[in-house]
């Protein structure tokens, strides 16, 4: 294996990893606000990408419009799901909410299949398909584009959490819900905001990944790798989600080179089981202390 080929594999791993990282971030956003795992995250991604694609087919609009429509659809869907379903279970245990989001995920996937069928559709990409040659290294522009766009989105999220009122409120709720409420923060609004923000991040990830994996009702399964990425980095930690995602993407692409090629699809699960057994708090996570 030459060094150039290795660079190629690592870069495409980083591209897949960026998508995992975005999925992990959107899961962590909701987890930090509501302490629950959103099983429907992947399906929100899938449905909003489909809506954007439909707009493109009907309006013959450019890809930018597709992205905007997908983001708007995701925001609407995230808001509606939180407001109409999750809010009613606000006093329920985390497990009840987990089951509810599992039900939402089943319903959304099935509904998408009824509307758009379960077939796979090609999806246009923002990036050229001709490989870029830098010296002996050949890189796919899609990979570089995905990495660049994801990094830009992550920086935007960082700015949002660091410097905006909403971002500060979200961080406060993540730290201590009751204290945040006492400081006059509307926890309900943070719940809504978290669902909308997570859905929007998912929609961007969906538009970025759809040209690579095709648009289909199954594409929401990428969220499972997002879970693994978030666990790998330490569930609840944003930098952890990014590191975990990138690491998982690279591992997944490198493993078939050294191990039997059928291992690729098991990599996320093996990584998940290993990390949970060896270090359940993840690479960058803090060990939770429990009080009686």
């Amino acid at each position: 294996m030459t060094a150039a080929a290795l660079v190629h594999v690592v870069v495409s791993g980083l591209a897949t990893g960026s998508i995992y990282a975005l999925m992990a971030i959107s899961l962590v956003i909701i987890y930090n606000a509501t302490r629950t795992l959103n099983f429907a995250q992947g399906e929100i991604l899938m449905v909003s990408t489909f809506v954007g694609w439909t707009a493109m087919q009907v309006l013959r609009a450019p890809l930018v419009v597709t992205l905007i429509v997908a983001v708007a659809a995701a925001a609407g869907l995230g808001w509606a799901l939180e407001r109409l379903v999750i809010r009613h279970a606000i006093s329920a245990t985390h497990f009840d909410v987990l089951i509810i989001t599992l039900g939402l995920s089943l319903m959304l996937r099935s509904a998408a299949g009824l509307v758009w069928t379960h077939d796979e559709f090609p999806f246009p990409s923002f990036f050229a398909s001709r490989p870029l040659a830098i010296g002996p290294v050949r890189l796919a522009p899609v990979s570089l584009g995905i990495i660049g766009a994801s990094l830009a989105l992550m920086l935007a999220l960082y700015a949002l959490f660091r410097w905006t009122r909403m971002g500060r409120a979200m961080r406060a709720v993540a730290q201590n819900q009751r204290a945040a409420r006492l400081m006059g923060i509307s926890v309900e609004r943070v719940y809504s905001g978290s669902w909308v923000l997570a859905a929007v991040v998912g929609a961007v990830a969906g538009v970025l990944i759809a040209p690579v994996v095709f648009l289909s009702s199954k594409m929401g399964l990428v969220a499972i790798n997002g879970f693994t990425a978030a666990v790998l980095g330490g569930f609840g930690s944003m930098p952890g989600a990014v590191v975990g995602g990138m690491l998982l993407g690279v591992l997944e692409n490198l493993a078939p080179l050294y191990l039997p090629s059928s291992i690729k699809h098991s990599v996320p699960f093996l990584v998940m089981i290993t990390i949970l057994l060896v270090r359940p708090s993840g690479l960058l996570g803090r060990v939770a202390r429990r009080k009686v």
Partner: protein
């Protein structure tokens, strides 16, 4: 009153094969098998408040263990093969349960989810023994001189095994072990303070749950007669979770009811595959939002209303 109801129920269950067409006997056997899995899952979730999304994996291990024993050791009577299937699965449950002690709620759910995927991959890759995607045909087993060649015979075997396991589950609360498990359910910390060895009992719940599911797996192999890895996918695990959610967390009668509802629904929706997840999702959400205790607690409330608002102080042992 209660005795009469139980006796009527028992007569109905035993008379069923003579009253309905053959296909429904098969369906009833499947319901009984799924009830055992639901009870097993409830032993874990009801006692340690932890949900598993990997019970299809346990079922697969039990099913393949039972099937391979039936194929390679034809002299072995079916109950022995079932016991072996349960023990093998319990051993795997022990191996998974010990490391999973470190995990709580969310993490356990994901680790068991991953376990389910790994089991399916393992079945695919061990194709020299499991025949991989081609599937495994299970020959008819026998109990003593009786060959289990008909749906009716297999139905009676599943009912007999289920009756034993249901009795054990109902009475477990009367034993020292059961009381310790109940204490763990109410409060882990309080239980620990009272001298309950938390790690040992949580592992035990895992092992018991795996044993039940493994026996059910062995029965599944006999009833269905054909095994392939894709019948044990993650959606089956979701079905099992749906059974205990719909039926009632921590309730043995609830587990049976939930298994009956979900299995029947699955069967009647077989022609509408596209709508099945839609309906299942809706059922999960509605039962979580409006019927948190499942059918079992809804029935309990009804019976309380039925006895002229005289609320019975149900002993905690009535649940599981």
């Amino acid at each position: 009153m209660r005795r009469a109801a139980l006796a009527t129920g028992a007569v109905l269950v035993l008379a069923l094969p003579w009253a309905v067409p053959r296909y429904f006997v098969f369906l009833a056997s499947l319901i009984v098998v799924n009830s055992i899995v639901a009870i097993g899952l409830n032993l874990l979730s009801g006692y340690t408040n932890q949900l598993s999304f990997g019970h299809a994996g346990f079922l697969a291990i039990g099913a393949y263990a039972g099937a391979l024993l039936t194929i390679h050791a034809p002299a072995l009577p079916a109950p022995a093969a079932l016991l072996a299937a349960g023990l093998v699965t319990a051993a795997v449950g022990l191996a998974l349960g010990i490391p999973c002690l470190r995990l709580e709620g969310l993490y356990l759910a994901m680790a068991t989810l991953a376990f389910g995927f790994v089991v399916v991959e393992a079945i695919l890759n061990l194709d020299w023994i499991t025949r991989g995607n081609d599937g495994l045909r299970v020959p008819a087993a026998h109990v003593g001189p009786i060959a289990l060649a008909s749906d009716t015979a297999r139905y009676y075997l599943t009912v007999a095994v289920a009756a034993l396991l249901i009795l054990a589950a109902l009475n477990i609360a009367r034993t020292r072990t059961g009381r310790a498990l109940l204490a763990v359910r109410e409060s882990e910390i309080a239980a620990q303070a009272s001298g309950v060895h938390l790690a040992a009992y949580k592992t035990l719940a895992f092992v018991l749950s795996a044993f039940y599911t493994g026996v059910a797996g062995g029965l599944f192999a006999l009833v269905v007669g054909f095994l392939s890895p894709d019948s044990f996918d993650v959606f089956l695990s979701v079905d099992f979770v749906a059974m205990i959610i719909v039926g009632g967390l921590g309730s043995v009668p609830g587990s049976v009811l939930g298994a009956a509802v979900i299995t029947t629904l699955n069967d009647s929706l077989a022609g509408f595959q596209n709508y099945r997840p839609l309906i299942f999702g809706a059922i999960l959400i509605v039962s979580m939002l409006f019927m948190p205790g499942g059918i079992a607690s809804a029935l309990r409330k009804l019976s309380v209303v039925g006895t002229a608002g005289r609320p019975r102080p149900g002993p905690p042992t009535a649940i599981i």
